[in-house]
Amino acid sequence: MPAQNPPVTDPPLRFLGVHKDFQRGKDRVAALNGLDLELAAGKITGLLGPDGAGKTTLLRLAAGLLRPSSGQVLIFGQDITQQSGEHAPAIGYMPQRFGLYEDLSVQENLDLYSKLQGLDPSQAQQRQRELLQLTALGPFGSRRAGALSGGMKQKLGLACALLRTPQLLLLDEPTVGVDPIARRELWNIILGLRQEGTTVLLSTAYFDEAERCDAIVLLHQGNILQQGRPDHFTTPLQGRTFQVQHPSLRRRFLQESLQQRPGVLDARIIAGGVRVLLAKDVQPPKEQEEIWITAPPAFADAFMDLFASVPASPPAEIAASADAADQIPVNTPSRNTAGTDETEIVIQVQDLCKRFGNFTAVQNSSFAIHKGEIFGLLGGNGAGKTTTFRMLCGLLPPSAGSLLVAGVDMRKASSQARARIGYVAQKFALYGNLSVDQNLRFFAAAYGLQGKLREQRLGKARQDFQLHEYGSVNADDLPLGVKQRLALACALLHNPDILFLDEATSGVDPLTRREFWQRINSLAAQGVTVLVTTHFMDEAEYCDQLVLMSLGAILAQGSPSDLRQLAKTPENLEPSMEEAFIHLIDAHERQIRRAS
C-alpha cells in the first residue's frame, strides 16, 4: 500500500538543538545534549550507541511521549509540542516492551488497539488480516498473548504499532531477547515496510542489523558521534582488519594473546578464527605460526574503533588479578594445549525430562560438561534452555532422568555443594533498593565469607569489576552494563567452580558484552566451568562446546565448527553460526510439524 508522500521539504523527523535532562536524585542528568538530526524519508535508520547514550530518550521524544527541555522536535515539519494528537496517526511507536495485554488473545489485542487508535471496524478487519499474514501470527489468533514466545510477542507488538499504517515507525530495540529466527522474520517485516515507503527509526544492539540499515546514527553521551551510510563507517578501516588463525592454539587463548599486543584495538572470536582490528598505521604484530589474512572491515570494527579509545577494562588487569593469592587452588592450565583436564566431567546430564502438565519443556536431554569448558546452550525462545538451566541449579525438580553437578544432584544438594556454584539469572536479580556495597556485602555473607577474607574478596570484586565509584548507588539506578558487572561480581565472590549465566548479555550494549566475554574467558582459563545461554550467535563462537535445543529436545551438540558443518549445504559452504542456527532449527521444526 503506497503511503502518500509528504512534500520533499519536510523530513519525517527532525531534531533541532534538542536538550533533554532528567532529575536523578539531587542531580539533573542530561540525556540529550543539543542534538540535531534529520531522517531521510522512506529509509531505515539505525540508532546505535552504548547504554545510556540517549537512544530510548531520542525515540520517546520523537514519539511525543517526552517534551524536550529545549530545542524543537519536528514531525513532517510540524513542531510536536505545538499540536497534540494530530500527528499521532502518522507515527507508530513500539517501546522496548510493548504493552500487550497478556490475558487477551492475539486477536483481542489487535481489536483493542484498533479501537484505541480509532480505526473503523471494516478498515480494521482488512488491516488486521494483512498484518496477521505479514507476521505469520494468523494460526495463533486465539492464543493468549502471555503464552506467546518472546519473538511472537515482539511481532504482535509490531503488528499493533502498524495498525494505522504509520508513515514514521519508531522501534526501540525490537529484537532484544529474540531468537535468530524470529529476528530474521522481524527484519523481513521491517524491510517490507520500507518498500511501502515507511520511514523507520530503530535502535539496536546488533551490528549485523546496523549493516542492514540505510543509515546509521551513532549516539554517545547524548549527542551524535557520527552518522552516515554503513560503508561510510567501514571504508576508513580498509587494511586494518584481519582474520588470524593458529594451527594449534585454541581460539580463546589466541584471542586473549592478540588482545594484549600493542596496536590491537579489538580482537574477537569469529567462525574462522580471531578477528583483529588494528590501530591506524600499525604493522600487524604477527607471531610464529599465526596466519594473518586481510578481511573486509565490518560495522562492528568501526564501532570498536570509535569506542575502543575509552576501554572499559584493560584485560591485562583481570589476567593479573586472576593470580591473586586467595584463589581456589586450580590446576594451572597450560595454555598451548586445550587448557583443561579433558577427563574430569563436572556436569553430567542423562535423559533429563521436564513436564509441566501435558507440556513437555525438556525431553531426553543428555550431555556432559568438562572442567574449564565454556559450554553454550542455544535455542529459540521457548526451546527449554532456561528450564534446563533451572534444573541444573537445583531450582526446579526434573520429571525424569539424572543430573549431577560437581558429582551431586543440586536438587538434594547440601549447602556446601551449592557453595561451589555461581548463578547469574536473566535480568540480573539484585536487590534494587540496596546499594552496590550492600548487595555485595549481603551476598558475601550469604556465601559464608567472614572477617578478613570477606573484606579481601569485596575489595577484589570492587577492583575487578570497577564498582568503586558506584558504592552507594542503589542497584536499580545503575546503568545496565554496571548492573551486569555487579551481578557477576556477586556470583563470583565465593570463587565458584561452576558459573551459570542465563542470558547474561541480553540487552547490554556491544562494549559491555565484549568486556563481559573477556572476563568469562579469563575465568575459564583459571579452570572455572562456565555454562551460558545466549541469543547472540557471535557469542556462541566463544564457547568450547554447544548444545542446540529446539522444542525441548537436543538437536545437535559439538564444537562451534561441528555445528556449522552440520548446516553446510551446496549453496552455502561456509555458513555462519547464525545461518547454521536458522538452518538446523528450521529443518527440525518443519519435520516436527510434518510429523504431527
Binding site: R390, C393, G394, L395, L396, S415, Q416, R418, A419, I421, Y423, A425, Q426, K427, A429, L430, Y431, G432, N433, L434, Q438, R441, F442, F443, A445, A446, Y447, G448, Q450, N474, C490, F500
Partner: protein
C-alpha cells in the same frame, strides 16, 4: 550459621527501610488507624436522634419527656402532630426512634393503671436499634421509679442492682482499644512478611537466594526475625498509646502479654510467609494477605463474640491466631491476668506458629512452578 542469618536480617531491614514508601506504610497508616479506631469505633451511642408524638396534654408525659431531654444520649429532632408524620421520620433516617405517648397517659398513671408508651424504632441496623432500645428502657425505668416514689406506689418487690466487673462504666473503648493492639500488629506483620518472599520471587532474587548455601531454615529465620521485630515494636507502641493516651487500665502482667505477643507474632509471621511463598508476584501476595486478613479479623471476636457464631465457624476460629491474642490482650489489660491464667491460649498459638513456619520453609523450594 548465625552470620548468614544475620546478613539476611540486615538485608530485609535495609530493603524495607531504604524504601520511602514501605517506611511510610509501617508508620503512617497504623498510627492513623489507631487514632481513628480508638476514637471512632465504639458501641456507645450518643445523640440518638428521636422524635416525639405526644397526644397527651397532662403533666406526666411532660415529665417523662423531660427525662429524655435531660439525657446526653438523646437529641430531639422533631415534635410530631399527626400519625402520618411518623413513617417519613424513620424512613428518611431523620430520627432513629419515635416516642409515641397515648392521649390517656397521665390519666392512666393517676388512676394507678398501666400506661403504655410506644417506641417505633429503625431496625435497619439491628445492633444500633437494640442498643438504643436499652437506653430507652433505662430512661423509662428511672421515670417509673421516681413516679412510684413520688406518688407513694410503694417500692417494687425486687430491685435490680447491676455491677459490671472489669469495666464498671461499660466503656466500649476499654473493650476495643486492647483489641486494636492485636489487630494493627496483625495487619502490619502480615503485610511485611506477606510481601517479602513474593517481592523476591517477582524480582528473581529468590532464585538467587536458593542457589546460595543458605538453607531453607536459615532463609525462614532470616525472613521471620524482621517480621517479628517490626511487629513487636509496632505492638509495644500501640500498647503504650492505649495505656497512656486512651487511659485503658493495664492490670495484668507485662510478661504475660509479652509472651502472648511473641507467640502470636510467630504465628502471624509464619502465615504471612506461607502466603508469600505461594505467591508469584507481589500483587498475588497482597491479594492473598487480604483474603486471609478480612475473615481472620471478622471471625476473631474483635467485634462480635465467637460464641454467637455457628458451630462450624466456631471450630474454624481455632485456626485463627487473632482469636487467642484477643483473649490474652483483654485478659491482661482488663482482668489482670498473669501467665498462669493464659496457658490455654499460649499453646495453640505456639502450635500454629510451628505448623505455619514449617510449611512456609517447605514451600520455599517445593512450590509448584
Amino acid at each position: 550459621m548465625p552470620v548468614r542469618i544475620w546478613a539476611l536480617v540486615i538485608k530485609e531491614f535495609l530493603a524495607i527501610l531504604r524504601d520511602k514508601k514501605s517506611r511510610f506504610v509501617l508508620i503512617g497508616p497504623p498510627l492513623i488507624q489507631l487514632l481513628v479506631f480508638g476514637y471512632a469505633a465504639t458501641f456507645d451511642l450518643q445523640h440518638i436522634p428521636y422524635a416525639v408524638y405526644n397526644q397527651d396534654s397532662g403533666f406526666a408525659s411532660r415529665e417523662l419527656l423531660g427525662y429524655f431531654q435531660g439525657s446526653k444520649a438523646f437529641r430531639l429532632v422533631a415534635n410530631l402532630h399527626r400519625d402520618g408524620q411518623i413513617a417519613p421520620m424513620i424512613n428518611q433516617e431523620k430520627a432513629l426512634l419515635v416516642l409515641q405517648i397515648g392521649p390517656h397517659f397521665t390519666e392512666d398513671l393517676l388512676r394507678h393503671q398501666p400506661a403504655p408508651v410506644q417506641i417505633l424504632i429503625d431496625g435497619r441496623n439491628s445492633n444500633t436499634a437494640s442498643l438504643a432500645l436499652n437506653y430507652v428502657n433505662s430512661v423509662l425505668l428511672r421515670f417509673d421509679q421516681r413516679w412510684a416514689r413520688d406518688h407513694h406506689w410503694g417500692s417494687p418487690p425486687a430491685e435490680l442492682v447491676i455491677r459490671s466487673w472489669f469495666n464498671p462504666n461499660l466503656l466500649s473503648r476499654w473493650f476495643i482499644v486492647p483489641g486494636i493492639v492485636a489487630l494493627l500488629t496483625f495487619v502490619v506483620t502480615l503485610l511485611v512478611t506477606g510481601l517479602s518472599v513474593a517481592r523476591e520471587r517477582e524480582q528473581g532474587t529468590f532464585d538467587q537466594l536458593l542457589v546460595t548455601p543458605l538453607t531453607p531454615a536459615e532463609i525462614l529465620l532470616g525472613k521471620a526475625l524482621p517480621g517479628v521485630l517490626i511487629g513487636a515494636l509496632e505492638g509495644a507502641f500501640i500498647a503504650l498509646v492505649a495505656v497512656f493516651w486512651f487511659r485503658v487500665p493495664f492490670l495484668g502482667s507485662f510478661w504475660a502479654l509479652a509472651l502472648g505477643m511473641l507467640l502470636f507474632l510467630l504465628a502471624a509471621v509464619g502465615i504471612g510467609l506461607m502466603i508469600s511463598s505461594l505467591a508469584l508476584t507481589q500483587q498475588q501476595g497482597l491479594l492473598g494477605v487480604f483474603l486471609f486478613l478480612v475473615p481472620a479479623i471478622i471471625l476473631s471476636g474483635f467485634a462480635t463474640p465467637i460464641a454467637n457464631m455457628p458451630e462450624l465457624v466456631q471450630d474454624l476460629t481455632y485456626l485463627n491466631p487473632m482469636r487467642y491474642i484477643l483473649v490474652i490482650v483483654r485478659g491482661v489489660f482488663l482482668e489482670g491476668d498473669g501467665m498462669a491464667n493464659l496457658w490455654s491460649q499460649y499453646w495453640p498459638l505456639a502450635l500454629l506458629a510451628l505448623l505455619s513456619m514449617v510449611s512456609a520453609a517447605w514451600l520455599f523450594r517445593h512450590r509448584l512452578q
